[in-house]
Symmetry: D2
Subunit: 364 residues, 4 copies
């Protein structure tokens, strides 16, 4: 008898507040979710998605308590929790719960099924953020997560979601007290650098870029270097990285499949439509989830027309971009429960970004 094949269950659950885990509790009570199998929870929370967004930490605390109550605090500590703040526009706060079922269910497909794996890296020192040290920590972490998912080839990875740290005034002062200077003093800017550095680490792991091509000096500067499958999100509540890899594997079974697209700019709907088509949505497959990055182009232009996001001192460019790109994607998918995350530095080309779609197929 062949060994059991794992499969993924994905639960998209609305959240009424950053600490609202009642929807998760209901799933557990109904037997639709087994807490033991949870490997990652992604949350779209309703803060500003920038430095002083405490909704991410609040959500993390609520989720950690939820997990601890069900599986104990040690096992809970191994679950990847990636909270992405910012539900601008009509984006809807929700959780994406990735559950690994060891004795998987559902049909086997010739091209395999959605495979998931995670890794939590060591904490960084403040002065490591935005520098080569962070890039290497991430690269190694992604490989570890791929191994956990049983994905052998980088080509089979469609998306890597990472939660990475940021600088605060306090952390910068801490480094300074040890005689170390951080790479930037603007705390909002540190989020972008951390996201970008993590993305370059992903590109290295997925062999989209070679190590020689990515010197430390390119971080945050040479935006022609990017990963087309990275999504990174910075949060005040951690100093390490939590990594989730999504790919396709013939060693997994079940109806879920993942694909990805790269938007060349903020209004590049065509590749996303093509990705939906390729997965068979809506004909033959049902849309389950979308994960995307949004960003204001540094050029200040979209197809030659000026945008004002980078010159707006009232609303952060990341908030503008999230609202706008969410609109593009919601118009395509017909739902506002989308995991659109801001700040796509080194994630897709300048002003564009990677998009992953998860769909539920009918039996082959």
């Amino acid at each position: 008898m062949s060994p059991p094949m794992p499969s993924t269950r994905l639960h998209r659950v609305p959240a009424a507040a950053p600490d609202d885990v009642s929807g998760l509790e209901r799933l557990v009570a109904d037997g639709a979710l087994d807490p033991v199998g949870i490997v990652a929870i992604l949350g779209k929370t309703e803060g500003n998605g920038c430095v002083n967004d405490f909704t991410r930490g609040f959500a993390t605390r609520a989720l950690a308590d939820f997990l601890s109550a069900h599986v104990g605090s040690e096992r809970a500590g191994g679950v990847v929790l990636v909270m992405s703040g910012g539900t601008e526009g009509a984006l809807s706060p929700h959780w994406l719960v990735f559950e690994r079922m060891e004795a998987g269910k559902g049909p086997e497909f010739p091209d395999g099924s959605l495979a998931i794996g995670t890794c939590v890296t060591r904490d960084l020192l403040p002065e490591e953020i935005g520098r080569a040290a962070q890039m290497e920590v991430v690269r190694a972490g992604v490989l570890e997560a791929m191994a956990a998912a049983g994905i052998a080839s980088a080509d089979d990875v469609h998306f890597v979601q990472i939660k990475c740290p940021l600088l605060t005034s306090t952390r910068i002062a801490d480094a300074a007290s040890r005689g170390r200077s951080c790479t930037v003093s603007d705390t909002l800017k540190s989020m972008g650098l951390s996201r970008g550095t993590s993305a370059l680490g992903i590109a290295l792991a997925l062999e989209e870029l070679g190590a020689a091509a990515v010197p430390e000096s390119a971080i945050g500067r040479d935006m022609s270097l990017f990963s087309g499958r990275a999504s990174t999100s910075a949060g005040i509540e951690l100093m390490g990285h939590e990594i989730l890899v999504l790919g396709m594997s013939e060693r997994w079974r079940g109806p879920l499949a993942v694909g990805h697209a790269v938007m060349r700019d903020a209004i590049d709907a065509a590749p996303v439509r093509a990705c939906l088509d390729a997965l068979g949505v809506p004909a033959g497959a049902r849309f389950e989830a979308l994960l995307a990055k949004a960003e204001a182009s540094r050029s200040g232009l979209v197809r030659g027309a000026r945008h004002t996001m980078n010159d707006d001192s009232d609303i952060s460019p990341t908030r503008h971009a999230r609202a706008f790109v969410a609109g593009v994607l919601a118009g395509l998918t017909g739902t506002t429960e989308l995991f659109v995350s801001g700040g796509a530095e080194h994630q897709g080309p300048d002003g564009g970004g990677p998009v992953a779609v998860i769909a539920r197929r009918s039996a082959p």
Copy 2:
């Protein structure tokens, strides 16, 4: 010999700042724009689109100076100037210049061509804003603008754009000093009431609603009452209304045509796609301009999923909605030079809004 038929020239011109009329000056210098024929200029300016958005007044002053220099101040005073603040997301600041050519050029089409007409109403008193008096002033003004355009039937009107006034603390105090109370003390809220009242005035003029169906008490409350062709925008710089009517008329010639759609909610892309198709865009006709309204649904929901726009105390709901719906529409049209205006009270259903598309047809 038959009398000459008018035609419309529409110029979509980028603006580098609220007072940047250099693009218009260039068109005049090149002979591509005759200032004498300008009947209306719509501007998308880069302020917050709310109470303290002075980019609208700044733009209006620059445009008035531009017009006065070319056609004298009296004639300049008759040009409708509708500035809509707010280029959230990747929206691009630009001018839409509507020029009426008396001896029109271009082919004649069996179903006619884009016809334009304008009207400027009397100033309101602060206490009239948001009340029946404003509704009646607008209704009469729309009929006057239709007459100016030579459009006989309300059915041939596809869009009515209005600039209407708002309340400020000073204006409320002025009314109070005369023993009058305004309908609202929240100045941001006054913008919505003025927009909504103007929209109901349009609905009456276009016979979308009967007078008996729209009591004063419905203003700002019964959102089931709306116009599907109204777009109203409030500005601090005027106390009257400036009205622009866009329709189709067999008495006009030339390649331009206008159509409209009504979005049922913020992600309702289908009717807009159908409108583009009906106009033959991009096959056979070229996209020229889009005018739309965006709004956060009062229900707090989009297709059952919660949005957070109405609970965000950092960013006004109108700014969220503009950014998001702009994304939906830019994904469809491939450009960010879209006249998306916030605050769709009584303009389309709750959370949705009217959209007009202008296209350039090939010869019939």
Copy 3:
């Protein structure tokens, strides 16, 4: 032998984040704070202080966990937790922990010492917020808290701090689903109404106003009606009220004393300076804490000069006012650890507000 007299210990503790209770833990570890005696914790947290400020809920959760760990969840539930969001300007996030020592220490003073008492009221229904029902619930609660403090006369009360509920889109919908309409649909506005209604309840309890003088229709409208000793703060995390009364009582001992002042407008420093003088600060007594309300005057004026707080659509008036009045008070006291709370509806005159000062006296 006379029975033991209680005394108050007040701890002012910096918070590095909304959930940072490490300073409290240190005090407990050092024996400087006995968790059993805690009757109230006031927190100044770093959110926006408006509808979607989740720092208050986050802080409340962290404090509740802290208390439960030390005194059990039942006793923890009886502690009044009043989180006031918003550390605009240079305000510094901190906790004010009020500890009641049964066998009090410190000298007895002829005019008594700081006495504290608390009460938690029943939950309101959404539709009760901003209406007479809320006023009565608060009035009764204040009397109960006075009794708990052993303060017989309203004249001896110097400050009443209340945490009250607000409306969200969800709560309004809940009322609507039961056929009830809430007093307002603008969620930010609901915070002001709840604060104002609570303040009028305090005024009734302290006999600053007679019941006949305060009809429901005056709520949020007749700002000539106010309490000079009320400070109310709205939060998304509760539907009832948490009440803390501060007064002087000869039945309490110890060095702490409380006094109050009423600012007539946002720059009225003189009464606060007089209050500091009366308490002997800094000569003879040491400044311990200040609690104040800040508000943008509805008149749009401060001493005849226009302010722009009410017309700013980017920053809420409450945030402006908190930053500004904090400056006035920090200039007087020499510290930024001040409990300045926004939204002074019916708390002091329009644009002004009540201020309480707590000082530590030398032995008499």
Copy 4:
């Protein structure tokens, strides 16, 4: 007969909007202001004071039109117009009009009277902003303005107000198109660098610092280098500098006098109170105007207590600081018509800033 001595008339005039010059027109009509004598107008306008604050340009246009109408466009071009955006807190929009009367009036004082002088420098290239070139341009300009005022010694200068340029996405792109890189790509940050560089230029001119002590690398980094009499303000509407020097001179007559103080931190009221006292306010002299700089300390602390201004991604630190320091100063002076300008880089110590007070003395 001795030659006539000049004197200064200072008009503090409320503005109802950024383009409201009606108060100035009234003064002219009343004969209280002679437009020919105007050398500078400082305006506190109600925008956000950051990159996309168009109220400054709007005000400048209205003032230029006002001046041109009265004195012709050439003479109008020589008037220094310094608009400082941001009336956070209860700050009140107003104009400060500095008029030089050649045949001055009013008493002569032994220590002289307020003397004023101005200079307009050449335009910078975008890549010169924030670099040594800008520092030198400013240094030379300040000396020129001192000469114009007839102030021989740097010690007699009490305040130098400068309007300096900033970077926008467009300007950065312009430099890039010429193969030049600007010193920073963050447009909001460019405002701080331009302000700081200008302040260091002032320090050089006033001999507060020696040239050797101020390498280009110190700009924006070594905040221990500062001028105690500089106030610089960045605006999108110019590429050069407009400089106004305020000092005392025995060659000027009349009741006005100027003094200055340096606040060590944001709540350092004592030196300002001392400056008011030294000028005899309110006993013997009347308060006329105050000009000050406000800034969030980079340390993240005020007297050891954490502030959150630098970590707030919703409100710019300059807006926080302006509101807060305005409160400190309004509490001292009893008025909200104060010229408090944000961004005090290299202007006073970190977190503090220079303050100038102008008073009207009785006859000696």
